[in-house]
C-alpha cells in the first residue's frame, strides 16, 4: 500500500506540475498583456477574478462534455487519460494564476516598467526588468495555482476517472478510500498531500532567497 501511495503521489505531482507549467505559460503572458492594456483589463480582470472560485466539478463536467467520444473533441481520445486531467487543471487554475500575476505585474510595471522607460529602455528591456523584479510574486502565483490543481477533486474525477495505476491521483484516492470506509488511509493520503504542498512552497521560497543573495 505504501508503494502504491508513493506512486499515486508521484503521478499527482507530475500531472498537476505539468498542468501548472502549461497554465503558467499562457497565464503569465495574458497577465502581462492585461497589465499593459488598461482598457482590456478593466473588462477582463473582474471576470477572471470571479472565475477564481469556479467549482472544479463544473470545469470537469464541461471538459467531459467536450472530450466525450460524442463531444466535439471526442476524436482526440483524451477522456480518462492523465492528459485530460492536465488540460482540465490547467484551465481550472488559469483565472487564479492570471489574476494574481496581473496584480504582481501591474504593480511591478508601475515601478520598474516606468523606471526603465524613463531611463530610455526599449519596451523589450522594460519587460525584462519587470519580469525579473516580479519573479517572487510570479512564483507565488504559480505556487497558488499548483496548490489548487494539486488539491482539486472534480476535474480529476470527471475526466480522469480515478483509474488505478493510470489516472488515480491523491485527491481521487482519498475520495475512494472514504467511500470504502478506509478513513485512516484517507487521512494519511491527505497528510501526504498537505506535506507535498508545503514542501513545494518552501522549496520555491528557498530558491527565491538564493536568488536574492
Amino acid at each position: 500500500m505504501a508503494g502504491e501511495a508513493l506512486e499515486i503521489a508521484a503521478r499527482s505531482l507530475a500531472i498537476s506540475g505539468t498542468a501548472t507549467l502549461l497554465s503558467s505559460a499562457w497565464s503569465v503572458v495574458l497577465a502581462y498583456l492585461l497589465a499593459r492594456s488598461p482598457r482590456a483589463s478593466r473588462l477582463l480582470v473582474p471576470f477572471l477574478e470571479a472565475l477564481v472560485g469556479i467549482p472544479t466539478v463544473l470545469v470537469g463536467l464541461l471538459l467531459y462534455l467536450l472530450l466525450s467520444s460524442q463531444g466535439p473533441l471526442g476524436m482526440l481520445r483524451l477522456l480518462y487519460t492523465p492528459r485530460a486531467i492536465v488540460v482540465g487543471q490547467a484551465i481550472l487554475i488559469t483565472p487564479l494564476i492570471t489574476s494574481v500575476a496581473y496584480r504582481v505585474l501591474t504593480h511591478s510595471w508601475s515601478m520598474y516598467g516606468e523606471l526603465a522607460l524613463a531611463l530610455g529602455a526599449a519596451e523589450r528591456q522594460a519587460a525584462r526588468l519587470v519580469f525579473s523584479e516580479s519573479l517572487p510574486g510570479l512564483a507565488a502565483a504559480v505556487v497558488m495555482g499548483f496548490s489548487r490543481a494539486f488539491g482539486e477533486l472534480g476535474v480529476a474525477l470527471m475526466v480522469g476517472g480515478n483509474i488505478r495505476g493510470y489516472t488515480r491521483v491523491i485527491t481521487t484516492a482519498i475520495a475512494l478510500e472514504v467511500s470504502r470506509g478506509e478513513f485512516g488511509l484517507a487521512l494519511s493520503l491527505g497528510a501526504m498531500l498537505v506535506a507535498i504542498l508545503v514542501l513545494v512552497s518552501l522549496t520555491l521560497r528557498f530558491l527565491g532567497r538564493l536568488r536574492e543573495q
Partner: protein
C-alpha cells in the same frame, strides 16, 4: 518584449507540452470500463483485473467508478467499452436502445435492510421487505422512524425505489425520508448518526460494520428473492478494435474462469462471501432478472 512575440512563445510551449503528453503511454491496450461504485469499492474488480493481467500483461482495464445510472449513460455516450452494473430495470432500458449488449450475469448477492437496534418500526425478522417498507413508512408518518436513501440513481437506489413502488408508496418529499445524494458508505454513516433505516449492499455494510463505523446499524431484513442483487457485465456495441477484443476476453474471464475467485473473495476477512458466483444458477438468475427488470 513585443506582446505578439510573447503570445507566439506561449502557444509554442503549450503545444509542445500537449504533443509530448499525447505521445506518452501509447503502447498498452486500455479498456475503458464504467462500473458501479459499491462494486468497485469492494476491491473485487481490481482483484479480477490483476488475475486477468497475469495472462494478458499488455492490457490495462480502466475502471471508472460511478453510479449504475451514470455508468450506463457514459457507456451510451461512447465513453466506455464495457459496463458492470446491478440495476436490471435500467439495464433493460439501455439494452432496448441498443446502448449495451451481450449481457451476462456474473455474480449476485443480497441487499439488506439495516436499522437502529431499537427498531422503532418493528421490522426485525420480517420475511418480506415490501412489508418492512410499509411499516417503515407508517412509523415515519407517525414520527417514530427515519429512512435514509442514496438518492443518486445508483443500482441500490433503483432497487430501493422499486421496493417502495411494490408497496404502492411514494416516500419522496416526506420529512422522515432523507436523500443523501452520495455513495453507500456516506449514506450508511448518515443512517448510523440519525438512527435511521437504510437499504444497503452487503459488501459495504460488512466492511463498515467490521471497522466499527456503524455500531448503530443492525441487520433487520435479509435474504429473500425480493432483495436479490444481480450483477451483470455488458459490452458496448460502439466500441471497436483491440479495445473491444480485450473487453470481450475480460467479460469471458469474469463469467467463466474467474467464477471460483468471485465466490471466495474476502471470505477470509468477513467469514462470509461478499458475492456468489452466477455459474450453475444462470437459469434461475435470468428469470429473477426478468422479474426485477419489470416485465
Amino acid at each position: 518584449m513585443k506582446p505578439r512575440l510573447l503570445v507566439v512563445l506561449a502557444v509554442i510551449v503549450a503545444a509542445a507540452v500537449l504533443v509530448s503528453l499525447t505521445q506518452l503511454g501509447a503502447q498498452t491496450v486500455r479498456v475503458r470500463v464504467t462500473t458501479t461504485t459499491s462494486l468497485y469499492a469492494t476491491g473485487l474488480l481490481d482483484y479480477l483485473e490483476d488475475q486477468f493481467r497475469k495472462q494478458h500483461p499488455n492490457v490495462e482495464i480502466d475502471f471508472i467508478a460511478v453510479g449504475s445510472g451514470e455508468a450506463l449513460r457514459r457507456a451510451e455516450m461512447g465513453d466506455a467499452c464495457m459496463v458492470f452494473v446491478h440495476a436490471p430495470s435500467l439495464e433493460k432500458q439501455y439494452m432496448a436502445r441498443g446502448a449495451i449488449a451481450e449481457g451476462r450475469i456474473f455474480a449476485y448477492n443480497y441487499f439488506i435492510i439495516a436499522g437502529p437496534p431499537s427498531d422503532p418500526a418493528r421490522i426485525k425478522g420480517e420475511d418480506d421487505p415490501v412489508d418492512a417498507f410499509e411499516k417503515i413508512y407508517e412509523a415515519g408518518e407517525e414520527g417514530r422512524a427515519l429512512f435514509v436513501s442514496r438518492g443518486d440513481n445508483s443500482g441500490t437506489h433503483v432497487k430501493e425505489l422499486s421496493l417502495w413502488e411494490a408497496a404502492g408508496l411514494d416516500p419522496r418529499g416526506r420529512p422522515w425520508y432523507l436523500e443523501t445524494g452520495s455513495g453507500m458508505g456516506n449514506t450508511l454513516l448518515v443512517a448510523n448518526e440519525r438512527g435511521a433505516y437504510v437499504l444497503t449492499d452487503i459488501g459495504t455494510y460488512l466492511k463498515f460494520r467490521k471497522d466499527g463505523k456503524i455500531p448503530n446499524l443492525d441487520v433487520m431484513v435479509q435474504g429473500g428473492d425480493e432483495l436479490l442483487n444481480i450483477y451483470s457485465v455488458y459490452l458496448v456495441p460502439t466500441c471497436s478494435g483491440e479495445e473491444a477484443k480485450y473487453a470481450r476476453m475480460f467479460a469471458d474471464f469474469v463469467a467463466g474462469e474467474a467464477q471460483s475467485l468471485i465466490g471466495s473473495y474476502k471470505v477470509d476477512v468477513y467469514g462470509q462471501p461478499l458475492f456468489y458466483p452466477a455459474q450453475g444458477k444462470l437459469d434461475w438468475l435470468a428469470e429473477k432478472w426478468q422479474e426485477l427488470a419489470g416485465g
